[in-house]
Symmetry: C2
Subunit: 289 residues, 2 copies
Amino acid sequence: MEVINGSDIAAEIRQQLKEENLREGISPLLAIIVVGDDKESLVYVGLKTSAVEATGGKNRLLQLDADIDREALLQKIENLNQDETVDGILLQLPLPQHLELYRDEFLKAIDPEKDVDGFNPENMGRLICGKPAFISCAALACMDIIRRAEFLASGKNAVLIGDSFDLIIPLAILLLKEGLKVTMIPEYEEEMSRGADILVVEKGLPQMVRGESLAEGSLVIDAGFHWHAGRSCGNVDKNSLVERELYLLPVPGGLGPVLIAKLMENLSIAARKNQLPRSQEGSIGKESL
Amino acid sequence: MEVINGSDIAAEIRQQLKEENLREGISPLLAIIVVGDDKESLVYVGLKTSAVEATGGKNRLLQLDADIDREALLQKIENLNQDETVDGILLQLPLPQHLELYRDEFLKAIDPEKDVDGFNPENMGRLICGKPAFISCAALACMDIIRRAEFLASGKNAVLIGDSFDLIIPLAILLLKEGLKVTMIPEYEEEMSRGADILVVEKGLPQMVRGESLAEGSLVIDAGFHWHAGRSCGNVDKNSLVERELYLLPVPGGLGPVLIAKLMENLSIAARKNQLPRSQEGSIGKESL
């Protein structure tokens, strides 16, 4: 088994972005909206704000009361859309129950050009038909790993376990467009994983996937996350893979850090689009004086 | 082999819509934009306008010069968006070459609530995340056939050959959400079709799929269209299926008519949303006088 180190890849991506941003004089500003004080959400937000700082950017954290109403939240989003200094907007999910009902409306309200999560339905749709401004970071992270491992080749057989809007469906579309054969399965089946060159497992029980049911030479991306026996783990039983000839992106230290690094890439793209034309306009303005 | 008669199913759907529209006092108005005079496009437009009339609706055909420019076409679409009497808007594809470049922009310009083709990226995206106002008719037609044939069951194995934005990708998402296992393959492979309970073949050579490579008891949907030896045919070699125990939606007389019937369903939904609130508002208005 060869373990792919997601933390190392994430550090490499962050370092490259930091240098690019510095070279081009860009300091991306990410606005993060957090509603309520769900502890898990705050942990994820902390990871994102640290990554923004590590790539030379700045954060604007909007921590809103859990009982904020629909209209007020929509107004907060609209204010950030209008604010030219904000490059990217991220609405931390999940929302409190009374707002979760309107989730699609909030995601749709985020300007597609600032939608660094790629969750605005217009960006999702342009993935099927056209070119999205931004693509979901979980799907981008898997694509990056697959490309680095040199598995992004026409004819390869990818099997994706799950049905999520942020990973499985966009990843399936991206892989199909690269000429791969793509199977999506809502629940894990041992039989289906045997023929996979690339296996992505987002749904399932802790450490459910065992080495015996994987193909020789395959790439396995563990996209699960569980607390089990006091430790974090994924859907793949690492120990059962040790003696097998295959590549594993494990949990922890796998998809999570790469996902946040891809968010930083999206943010840098947004900042480049948003800041460069302005500064160029500025210099044209000066010349014409 | 049991042949599924798409023309009969389409006639049944049309008849039902006609009765519903009559009962509810709705006469749907479809605006069709055709740019240029491509003969094949005009044939399809003719089929659509006839279907609108057969379901108690009316057509407004905008036949535009092939050399119309981008801004003028966008303005035509915007006029139809604003026109309250128009229930559905359809932009006949393909467009002339100088406009095809901006296709996504035109599709995005159509009000999602009038987008009866389901091609606006917002509707596409809400298919992944949320609820679309309208879904592509080709995908809806396949879902209807699969449901009628009683193959829409969790655990069934669907294999889709192709990568189109209007059929393969939306159909894959719809089937996954119903709990099926879904494989998308950009090009036909005999080996992959053998395990399919449901096989949809959109891409390939005329009459390429032969009975020997199909599973006993499977449902085969031919979504190809070719002119071959002076006759229309699909991707499936019908003759080679005759002795096999399976279901075939053939070409001709299969997906084509059902697709147009599903367009009429979308149009009736649009008309119901657009006309009923207006007439209800009207009656509330009268009472309050």
